[in-house]
Amino acid sequence: MNPSGSDNIYLPRTAILERVVDDIPEVKTFYWRFEDPAAQSQFKRFRPGQFAQVSLFGIGEFPASLPPSPTESETFFTIRQVGSCTAALHQLHPGDKFAVRGPYGNGFPMEDYYGKNLVFVAGGIGMIPLRSCIVYAIAHRQQYQSIQIFYGAKTPRELMYLKNLDEWQNTAHVSCHTTVDRSDNGWAGHVGVVGSLFKRPDVRIPVDNTIAFVCGPPVMFRFVIRDLLEMGFKQSNIVSTLERYMKCGVGKCGHCCIGVAYICVDGPVFTYEQIKKLGEDI
């Protein structure tokens, strides 16, 4: 049913931009809240991996992942400036208004993973949707076995959520590894693609009873999947979230329909076993 409680599934609700944080070049995080507190508390029931439709008046609407975890108090989007809508959002200042509807999609079944090891593999802005799951998993740490995070970016300047990374590196029973494709001056960490972290001597990835979350650009996705399958991961234990052009978010406009699925209502979260059957490029 319509999560925003209105009988019009396409009608967004007004949101107020509270503050903007520069993350990496071209990417900013926008903290916002709904004008109507009731809408805010309704929205806050989202699950990690769900998404929302963001409206810029007179410009258009675009789908955006939800990087916050429902366990956090604030709502925000992390958005790369790439088209006309995202460019318009990047122009906004605190206090400006836009509109949001959602949350939509299936999200990650985090409760089903209780008692399992979690491995997060993120490449570039693929960290945006996975951030929600990681924060959620750490907030429910007693429910999971080991939590491992592998995060790769092109350069050190393009590593996002530095405060979070620092925090995760210092959380007990959580290991967080970062890598860059090309190092800059002053980078003392690992250099190489994200999959190269798996082969480090200090890394042991359990394969049994483990769920691997993979999110990143297509080429990274392909190589990481290959590595995980070689390690012995079952296809059904690898999960990801797909990105598609969407106009409605509610299974009507047809733009995100691939294979036998509408990404917006049947996804965006799929196991690799399901993704293979969709029969299109990731």
């Binding site: 049913m1 319509n2 009988d7 019009n8 599934i9 396409y10 009608l11 967004p12 007004t14 810029l56 008046f57 007179g58 410009i59 258009g60 609407e61 675009f62 790439v82 088209g83 006309s84 809508c85 995202t86 206090g95 208004k97 509109a99 990105e243 598609r244 052009y245 106009k247 409605c248 509610v250 299974g251 009507k252 406009c253 047809g254 733009h255 995100c256 329909c257 691939i258 294979g259 036998v260 209502v265 293979k276 059957k277 029969g279 299109e280 490029d281 990731i282």
Partner: protein
């Protein structure tokens, strides 16, 4: 369902009755050539309404899903933004809608209303729409070269989803069947009278005769749906279909069962904007292109594949409980590459069946086995 008899000379009085109810009545008219089109009935053109006619190329879908539809208006003043959803749903009737198009609207009902999210724009229009189905009985005037409703099981007489159905019994009489209580209410009018068992028998005879008069266009869905659903279609077959697509989007534009749309914002004033939705087509290159330029569906055959896969895969038929092809034949008429639904169904069926059942000689040949191995089925 109740049935009545009405004289041919009185049939257009149904249009008058619906207009007297305050409805805008849409009906088929004849153009200057052989073309026909749906238009609003007025006092001037009322007598030109057609009963026997070739189904118009532009389907009546636009009366439930307009080609361009305003969804909401935005107004900005003093830092405040008002959003106002806009609805336009006058009481309407379509007089003379063909059985295939009735099935098309029924499919749209299932798609827009029966799923998790109800589309309120569609719902409001649909609730105010009265359908008078006219059965195709005249092989010369009603049944087109490209009609294949028999294969889609939607005609020549719709079984449901109409308010009133009319069928020419010849001899100056029509049989009217009520599909809803709203339709049945019309039977209180003196133009309708009770029929006899002979009328029912006559209806059966005419339908039997009309079924025999369909032309050569056939579309053998069952086998093709099975092959598509079981993932047995070769990439090379999709590619062959794709090569014939000129990416005009015409098939989606005339399809009574296509549902895709795009949404666009337009400035309407210095502090005003509107959000509209516009029919869209999966045959067009930009359909899946994301901001930044990445397009997961690159080749033209991927897009062709998409439209036919969406219509023929068992999964979607099960999901909507009806197939997104109603056998109207419009895609056959508009396609320059001869890849309307019946051709595609035949190409898919033949290529797959031939591959599945190689002749004895081919079986013995190792080279054929080699070719098979090199052409993996679509994963």
């Amino acid at each position: 369902m109740k049935a009545r008899i009405i004289d041919s000379v009185d049939v257009l009085k149904i249009v008058d009755l619906l207009r007297a109810q305050g409805r805008e009545v849409i009906a088929p008219f004849r153009g200057r050539g052989n073309d026909t089109y749906f238009d609003t009935v007025t006092s001037e053109n009322r007598d030109d309404v057609q009963i026997h006619f070739a189904n118009p190329s532009y389907p009546p879908k636009r009366f439930v899903l307009p080609h361009i539809e305003q969804m909401m208006k935005f107004h900005r003043s003093d830092g405040k933004i008002d959003m106002e959803p806009t609805y336009e749903h006058p009481p309407r009737a379509i007089f003379g809608i063909r059985s295939c198009d009735v099935a098309g609207i029924s499919h749209l009902d299932r798609f827009y209303l029966d799923r998790e999210f109800r589309d309120i724009y569609y719902e409001k229009r649909r609730q105010n729409l009265f359908l008078v189905n006219v059965v195709c009985t005249d092989p010369a005037r009603d049944i087109g070269e490209n009609c294949f409703c028999m294969c889609a099981d939607t005609g020549p007489a719709a079984r449901e989803h109409f308010d009133l159905q009319l069928m020419d019994l010849g001899m100056g009489q029509f049989m009217a069947v009520a599909g809803t209580t709203a339709g049945q209410t019309l039977f209180n009018e003196p133009i309708f009278r009770k029929g006899t068992p002979a009328h029912v028998e006559r209806r059966r005879e005419i339908l039997g005769e009309a079924r025999k008069r369909f032309k050569t266009t056939t579309s053998w869905f069952p086998a093709t749906v099975r092959y598509v659903s079981q993932d047995k279609i070769l990439d090379s077959t999709w590619e062959e279909i794709g090569k014939r697509c000129m990416e005009c989007g015409g098939c989606t534009y005339v399809c009574p069962a296509c549902t895709c749309f795009t949404v666009s914002d337009r400035q309407t004033g210095p502090d005003e904007a509107e959000r509209v939705r516009i029919w869209d087509s999966c045959a067009l290159a930009g359909f899946t292109r994301m901001a930044g330029g990445f397009n997961p569906r690159r080749a033209v055959h991927d897009r062709r594949n998409r439209r036919f896969f969406r219509k023929l895969a068992h999964y979607f038929i099960q999901r909507e409980l009806s197939m997104a092809c109603v056998g109207c034949g419009r895609c056959v008429s508009v396609c320059h590459g001869d890849i309307g639904m019946p051709s595609v169904v035949e190409m898919l069926r033949r290529a797959t069946a031939e591959r599945a059942l190689p002749s004895a000689a081919e079986k013995a040949s190792p080279s054929v086995a080699e070719v098979d191995k090199n052409e993996p089925v679509r994963q």
